[in-house]
């Protein structure tokens, strides 16, 4: 049963250069895939919010489902130790209200932080404007957040997962999410058909 070999993690015997080159290569693949999806172009990405081309949802959800299944099965077969990987902490209200604000920003600019880089580096001036806006946004947060820390740390629940909060079996939640995603994939296909007909 003692099979666990991952996460491997870099130990200090690996030089910083190797780690950074690996990070660069990882990003290179990510950026390549994002551009191939069409996400270097705001007018492609924004169609998600007018129901005419739901690529954003399809890519996001199929990536999550793939990674979720991979991580589940690797931990099931005791290759990956799930207690040793990074689980994003939950801050209930900051993440719900911040998510809504993020959605407003997304629809105004048509890009997200990662895709704005892809847009800018494929020559899209609006992508560059988004990147500049982000620099200013972080600066404003930096100058205001320390005095409002209690609001930003409100309702912190720690590294909690969906199956822990629902007190359900990990595998069952994974299964239910896969079913939910498949239903969504079918539904978005129908929605696209409908809205494209409406426009033409």
């Amino acid at each position: 049963m003692e099979l666990i070999i991952a996460p491997i993690r870099f130990n200090y015997e690996v030089s910083t250069t190797v780690i950074l080159v690996f990070a660069l290569f990882t990003g290179l693949l990510f950026g390549f895939f994002l551009e191939k999806a069409g996400f270097g172009n705001a007018s492609v990405l924004i169609k998600q919010f007018y129901f005419t081309d739901m690529r954003m949802f399809k890519v996001l959800f199929s990536a999550i489902i793939t990674a979720m299944l991979g991580i589940f099965w690797l931990s099931y077969f005791r290759i990956l130790d799930i207690t040793q990987i990074y689980i994003n902490g939950t801050y209930l209200w900051p993440q719900i209200l911040g998510g809504i604000l993020f959605g407003f920003g997304f629809v105004l600019c048509g890009l997200c932080p990662g895709t704005s880089c892809v847009a800018a580096f494929t020559g899209k001036i609006d992508g560059l404007a988004v990147m500049c806006g982000m620099i200013v946004g972080i600066f404003i947060f930096g100058e205001t957040a320390p005095s409002m820390a209690k609001y930003f740390n409100f309702s912190a629940l720690g590294d909690v997962t969906i199956y822990e909060i629902l007190q359900m079996n990990y595998g069952l939640v994974v299964f239910l999410i896969v079913i939910f995603a498949l239903a969504c994939f079918w539904l978005v296909g129908k929605v696209e058909e409908r809205f494209n007909k409406k426009l033409s």
């Binding site: 996460p7 910083t16 990070a23 660069l24 290569f25 990003g27 290179l28 990510f30 950026g31 551009e35 191939k36 999806a37 270097g40 705001a42 007018s43 690529r55 890519v59 996001l60 199929s62 999550i64 489902i65 793939t66 990674a67 979720m68 991979g70 040793q84 990987i85 689980i87 994003n88 939950t90 993440q95 911040g98 998510g99 993020f102 407003f104 920003g105 997304f106 629809v107 105004l108 048509g110 932080p113 880089c117 892809v118 494929t122 020559g123 609006d126 992508g127 404007a129 988004v130 990147m131 982000m134 620099i135 200013v136 946004g137 972080i138 600066f139 947060f141 100058e143 997962t161 822990e164």
Partner: protein, 173 residues
């Protein structure tokens, strides 16, 4: 026909599976997933350190990124995002989509589009600091490990987006 296919976008489900496999490999090798907003935070913290070092080091938002011994830009997510820029550029050139232009709806001027892009980026980055992550670091990577906050964030982004998209229809259509 073959050349046309070579330059068209990939099937979104294929792209999703590719990104999903990349995330699995990252979790196996490093124990965590992708990110994006963190790179911008590092850049801002580095700039602030250059302008006002004492102010930057006493501010918890910046000091997180600059208090280490090494150079603040010699960081995992900074190099990852540099890779994203490079990967986007390579694919853009190979697919002949690299072009200097302003992507906008037909009924908006370029200057207004750029103002909105800047404003949207500003709001999005501020929001991503409040939520502790963006679409890559929180929704995608956190979603894969079933973090409760990641899923709440993801649905909130869609709710926020759809609640204003039809009010500002003229911007994009």
């Amino acid at each position: 026909m073959k050349t046309k296919q070579q330059f068209s976008y990939w099937n979104p489900y294929i792209v999703g599976i590719c990104i999903g496999i990349l995330i699995i490999l990252l979790f196996v090798i490093t124990g965590r997933g992708l990110g994006a907003i963190g790179a911008f935070s590092s850049v801002v913290a580095t700039i602030m350190k250059g302008i006002a070092p004492e102010h930057a080091l006493s501010n918890p938002v910046y000091s997180e990124y600059i208090s280490g011994s090494g150079h603040p830009l010699k960081d995992w997510v900074v190099f990852e995002i540099a890779g994203v820029c490079l990967g986007g550029l390579i694919s853009g050139l190979l697919s002949r989509r690299f072009k200097f232009e302003v992507i906008k709806g037909p009924r908006i001027s370029s200057i207004n589009r750029l103002i909105l892009a800047f404003t949207g980026g500003l709001l999005m980055a501020f929001a991503a600091k409040v939520t502790r992550g963006c679409t890559s670091g929180l929704a995608l990577s956190g979603g894969a490990v079933l973090s409760l906050g990641a899923w709440l964030f993801m649905f909130s982004v869609f709710i926020g987006g759809y609640s204003i998209s039809f009010l500002i229809k003229k911007v994009w259509n």
